[in-house]
């Protein structure tokens, strides 16, 4: 029974695609117009995924180490095969669960939230496209398919960010996100091709050329043995570039904050919970490869730490509610990278799961807030919303507590990371982690206090939130609160190698992290709830507010440098390359002009030309003759 059941898992991928095509065709041919039908279809497809995921998950719990793989050849050239298919193991089933449940809840939420929008069907079509690509991504059996869906999620993200394409800022943000992701794709593609090449060229098994995840351990060993260190590291870094771009890590982190121009459900689904976690997911998938080189692992961890630190720092001073959450997401993703890079594999992934739930809840809450304030996103014009939106405030608070690592699921996952760091003796990373935790607690509670406590500073009375919205966030709150209890189970379910994360003697780290969090909350309370004036260090504030001017630098790079290079190229093309062609034409015309001037109509000039020609040819002839004679003479003498 199980076999036939799991055999059909590809339907989970394809169902959203069908719905997507149905909606698109319906719109093109003006057949399906009803929003209710569209949303029901979408929800059905996702619910199908949820059920499938749950059943599979339960089955996997029953049979440990069960792995299912099924694939067919997408491209076959000689014996070089690239496969498409599905691959189910513990990691992918967890990801599937996360993706489908959050997706379902967000769709439920959007059914109401986006109902008034003119482009409701388009929105749901995009959501389906995203679902299709994200599920395809997590069920990828190999690096190649992973790349395919990697691009597809990028595109759905692009489409959804630019959903309100009439807003220039949204369009620009979409473009930026797409281009940044493309930079990552460049790395990923190059890395994929490189790995594929080395395996195909040097190993005997041509079937490994498609880089299946089921065999990634062998592939890592092969690759490590065929290449020298530098090449290996370069390949890893190229692959990591994909992860960095998708998860908005340090050099490529700027797109995520801008991506908040998209509708809020999109931010909740894609830009906090699922797609941006794909980078972490890919690192987890290729963990056997990366873990062969300490340098690579440290690189991941350092990039993660840098991102976590600077983004947490940026989040402190932002005034846009969604931007705060975006930088928070960035920072938390950085923590996951840090965890993975520092060897806290299970902790990092558990944080991925828990973070997905509470962060999407945060976004959905912010969506309700923004909705009720008629699209006001600036927290300086909020305040005291607890009275109007009590459920939202409660959920927001739960999430804040969780993300600060004080209680609930966030506590469990953060504690797992910290213990992992300490266990692997990465003390510097641990210190960094704690600083991030401090800042996290501070800015999250800052946002909570400013938005929900104090006096209402807006002009219009906030609207009540509808039932569906409340339902979605309540369910997410339940997840957030109770997910922590699965910690032990998770440790056994997802593990790298044989070592299970030891969480026995954790008193010390728990004490430290909780106290740090409390400190952060206290600071936020003192400054923002009690309105104590503190001296703002101007430079630090400006740096944070302007995000270290990295965005400006990138703007300069893309708008000025790139554009200048293009213009230089265009100039060369127009005036140099084409100029030569035109010059050839002009030369011919000039020659023609000369000849036509020679055409005087007077026959005597014609005779003169003839004489000149004859004279020249005879002179050349004579000259050539004398040269030949001389040469013959000289050679005769010698």
């Amino acid at each position: 029974m199980e076999g036939t059941f799991i055999n059909n898992i590809y339907t989970v991928i394809l169902f959203p695609l069908w719905v997507f095509l149905l909606i698109i065709l319906g719109r093109l041919l003006n057949v399906i117009q009803s929003r209710r039908v569209i949303s029901l279809l979408t929800l059905a497809s996702t619910l199908y995924g949820v059920i499938f995921a749950v059943v599979t998950f339960l089955y996997m719990l029953k049979t440990p180490d069960y792995v299912y793989e099924n694939s067919y050849a997408f491209l076959r050239i000689e014996n070089y095969t690239l496969n498409f298919g599905v691959f189910v193991d513990n990691l992918s089933v967890i990801m599937l669960l996360v993706v489908t449940t959050i997706s379902f809840l967000v769709q439920l939420y959007s059914t109401n939230y986006m109902y008034k929008d003119r482009s409701f069907p388009r929105f749901f079509a995009y959501l389906n496209l995203f679902n299709f690509s994200m599920i395809g991504l997590v069920l990828s059996p190999n690096l190649f398919q992973n790349y395919v869906f990697w691009e597809l999620v990028g595109v759905s993200s692009y489409l959804l960010i630019g959903f309100w394409y009439k807003k220039p800022s949204a369009a620009d943000a979409a473009k930026k996100a797409f281009l940044m992701n493309r930079i990552g794709d460049f790395g990923l593609l190059a890395g994929t091709i490189a790995i594929s090449y080395f395996i195909y060229r040097y190993s005997d098994e041509a079937s490994l050329a498609t880089v299946p995840f089921s065999n990634i351990g062998n592939i890592g060993d092969y690759l490590y043995s065929y290449t020298n260190d530098a090449v290996f590291v370069i390949i890893c870094v190229l692959l990591l570039f994909g992860s960095f771009a998708k998860s908005a890590q340090f050099p490529l982190h700027t797109w995520l904050a801008d991506a908040m121009e998209g509708p809020t459900p999109v931010s909740a689904l894609i830009h906090s919970a699922t797609m941006v976690a794909a980078g972490v997911y890919l690192i987890a998938r290729l963990y056997p490869l990366y873990s062969l080189s300490d340098g690579v692992m440290n690189f991941i961890a350092i990039i993660g730490l840098i991102t976590a630190l600077i983004c947490a720092y940026f989040a402190i001073t932002q005034n846009d509610l969604k931007r705060i959450l975006a930088y928070s997401t960035n920072s938390q993703l950085g923590l996951m990278f840090l965890a993975l890079g520092a060897g806290a594999y299970t902790g990092g992934l558990f944080h991925l799961v828990t973070h997905a739930y509470f962060k999407s809840m945060l976004f959905l809450c912010s969506g309700i807030v923004i909705h009720s304030l008629a699209h006001q996103q600036d927290i300086r014009f909020m305040g005291g919303l607890r009275k109007y939106l009590p459920l939202t405030a409660a959920c927001y608070l739960i999430a804040c507590i969780s993300i600060s690592g004080l209680l609930f699921s966030g506590f469990c996952s953060k504690e797992m990371i910290l213990s992992g760091l300490l266990k692997n003796n990465h003390y510097i990373f641990a210190v960094g982690f704690l600083i991030v935790a401090l800042m996290t607690a501070f800015y999250m509670f800052r946002s909570y206090f400013v938005v929900f406590e104090g006096d209402f500073k807006g002009s219009n009375v906030p609207l009540k939130s509808p039932f569906l919205l409340n339902l979605s966030i309540s369910i997410l709150a339940v997840f957030t609160v109770f997910l922590g209890i699965f910690q032990k189970g998770f440790e056994h379910f997802i593990k790298f190698g044989n070592d299970i994360a030891q969480s026995e003697n954790l008193l010390n780290p728990v004490f430290i992290s909780v106290s740090i969090a409390v400190l952060g909350i206290f600071l936020a309370f003192v400054i923002y709830c009690k309105k104590n004036k503190i001296i703002k260090p101007k430079i630090l504030y400006q740096l944070s507010y302007n995000r270290f001017y990295i965005d400006n630098f990138y703007d300069f790079l893309s708008k000025k440098i790139y554009y200048t290079i293009s213009n230089i190229c265009a100039f060369i093309d127009k005036y140099l390359v084409d100029g030569l062609v035109i010059l050839a034409g002009l030369n011919t015309r000039a020659l023609s002009w000369v000849f036509s001037k020679m055409q005087t109509g007077n026959f005597q000039s014609y005779l003169a030309y003839a004489v000149i020609f004859l004279a020249i040819s005879f002179a050349v002839l004579m000259f050539a003759y004398t040269m030949i004679m001389q040469y013959a003479f000289l050679s005769g003498v010698s």
Partner: protein, 508 residues
């Protein structure tokens, strides 16, 4: 299989173009158009029949036929034959040709406002010429059709184009003529060396390919260069490309579609037919150089495209960039990259036709192609925007759409290529070339955003969305884009045996 005649396939458009001048059509525009479309659809179906009965594993030439005049071959004293036949690559190109011509004819409805009879007859003449190039089994026959194609193109660009179309048409013709003369010289040398060494007067591809790989290396290289100049103009390869933006900008939309989708492929096809099949050593010798040209093609034109202000020029430069990928694929000298190159030829044919159609639709409505004058058209033309997004994404190589497979295979092939033994660091080239992912996204998104996104100008708020026939064209293209993106093996299966066959000649 025997009842399928390649001669009917090639010459029926010519006959059709003559039939259009019969009194039956008078000057009845609707009748001319309907018959043309009907004929083109029949032709497309007929070409599909060739696919159905085609056996890709057949080593030789399928559907071989020769025309004889009064019992002698075409130019008997010189051994030239008017012989036609198909192999996998030509078959693919033939079907693409027939498909794109059908769509171009449908698209002509809204683009061509005058001189209908003349226009359609020229289109059919062009079709015969192009099919002749793809099917010819004799060097000089190939050359004849290659040149023949210039005549209708001259009229099509010059008569129905806009802007400075007469000058552009002239530039196109002169440029191509120059290239083809150099090509002719190469062919003549090939022919005579073959004759003087082996004593057989023949210009038949199959016959020459037996002996020509044995030519001395310097001769092969010299002939290769001469031939390549001709193909480089058509393809185009960078320093010889400047006719293309002009020709595209001033050509009417259907002609732009044909130009980008079919005519550029003739260049690549010629490289395969001549340089690779006949002169493998010479080609191999030139590969390190060609790789650099390919890279310049890919990267440099991507930058140039970004700076353009005219929609058609952006698409035109993107064509050049894409053809650079084809060239890179041809230079990899292994089956993966080679299949990728041929696939990319088809892919680019379909995508660029779509993009030109898109720009044409916008131009008909707004009478402008300047980026600065456009914006926010998605508001009034949502369906067009949908098509535009899909085509753009296909163009930047989104997986599961047609643009991806070719690029991917080319890059993969470049990595696997044996060429690095020729002291060309092709892996590094490949990585550099992959950066086209970003560069192409940059200019294509610029096109998309500046046209459809952001705020709409007041003056465009009244324009209509696409009409039915435009919808049909775009929809057919999108179907092809999606189908071959998901099932690339349907194309690769046809071409792989012949490509493997070609690669066997190379001694790497």
């Amino acid at each position: 299989m025997q009842h399928l005649s390649v001669l009917i396939l090639i010459f029926s458009p010519l006959i059709m173009s003559a039939i259009l001048f019969t009194p039956f059509f008078k000057n009845n525009e609707v009748r001319i158009r309907r018959f043309s479309k009907g004929f083109a659809s029949l032709h497309f179906l007929y070409s599909l029949l060739f696919l159905v009965f085609f056996n890709p594993l057949n080593q030789g030439i399928s559907y071989y036929e020769e025309i004889k005049f009064f019992g002698t071959s075409w130019i008997q004293p010189l051994g030239f034959k008017m012989a036609f036949g198909l192999d996998g690559i030509s078959l693919l190109m033939v079907i693409l040709t027939s498909f794109i011509f059908l769509l171009a004819l449908i698209a002509s409805k809204s683009n061509i406002r005058q001189k209908h009879k003349f226009y359609y007859s020229m289109i059919f003449l062009l079709q015969t010429a192009v099919l002749g190039v793809f099917c010819a089994r004799d060097m000089f026959l190939f050359f004849m059709f290659w040149e023949l194609e210039l005549v209708p193109m001259y009229f099509l660009i010059g008569q129905w184009g806009g802007g400075n179309c007469k000058a552009s048409a002239m530039k196109f013709v002169l440029y191509t003529f120059l290239g083809s003369l150099s090509m002719l010289l190469g062919m003549l040398l090939l022919y005579f060396y073959n004759f003087s060494t082996y004593g057989t007067m023949t210009a038949d591809f199959s016959a020459i390919s037996v002996s020509s790989p044995e030519f001395p290396i310097f001769l092969q290289v010299f002939i290769s260069i001469l031939l390549l100049i001709g193909f480089a103009v058509k393809m185009p390869i960078v320093p010889l490309h400047t006719w293309l933006p002009d020709a595209h900008t001033d050509a009417p939309t259907p002609v732009s579609m044909i130009l980008a989708a079919i005519l550029l492929k003739m260049g690549a096809f010629g490289v395969i037919r001549f340089n690779m099949q006949l002169l493998p050593e010479g080609f191999q010798y030139l590969v390190p150089l060609l790789l650099i040209f390919a890279l310049i093609n890919i990267i440099y034109t991507a930058f140039v495209a970004y700076a353009q202000m005219d929609l058609k020029k952006i698409v035109a430069y993107s064509s050049i960039s894409n053809m650079g990928i084809v060239l890179l694929g041809l230079c990899t000298l292994n089956l993966i990259g080679f299949s990728g190159a041929v696939f990319q030829m088809v892919a680019h044919g379909i995508i660029s036709a779509g993009l030109f159609m898109l720009v044409g639709i916008i131009y008909i409505r707004t009478k402008t192609r300047e980026i600065a004058d456009l914006g926010g058209l998605g508001d009034v033309m949502p369906r067009l925007m949908g098509f535009g997004i899909i085509l753009s994404l296909a163009s930047v190589g989104l997986p599961l759409l047609i643009g991806f497979v070719g690029e991917f295979l080319v890059f993969l092939g470049a990595f696997n290529s044996p060429v690095d033994e020729l002291s060309a660091p092709i892996k590094i080239y490949s990585v550099i070339a992959i950066s086209v992912l970003v560069l192409s996204a940059a200019y294509i998104l610029r096109l998309l955003h500046k046209t459809f996104f952001a705020n709409i100008f007041e003056k465009w708020s009244k324009i209509n969305d696409i009409t039915n026939h435009e919808f049909v064209v775009l929809f057919a293209l999108i179907l092809a884009v999606a189908f071959f993106g998901v099932f690339p093996m349907s194309i690769l299966d046809i071409i792989q045996p012949i490509l493997a066959n070609i690669l066997e000649i190379f001694k790497i």
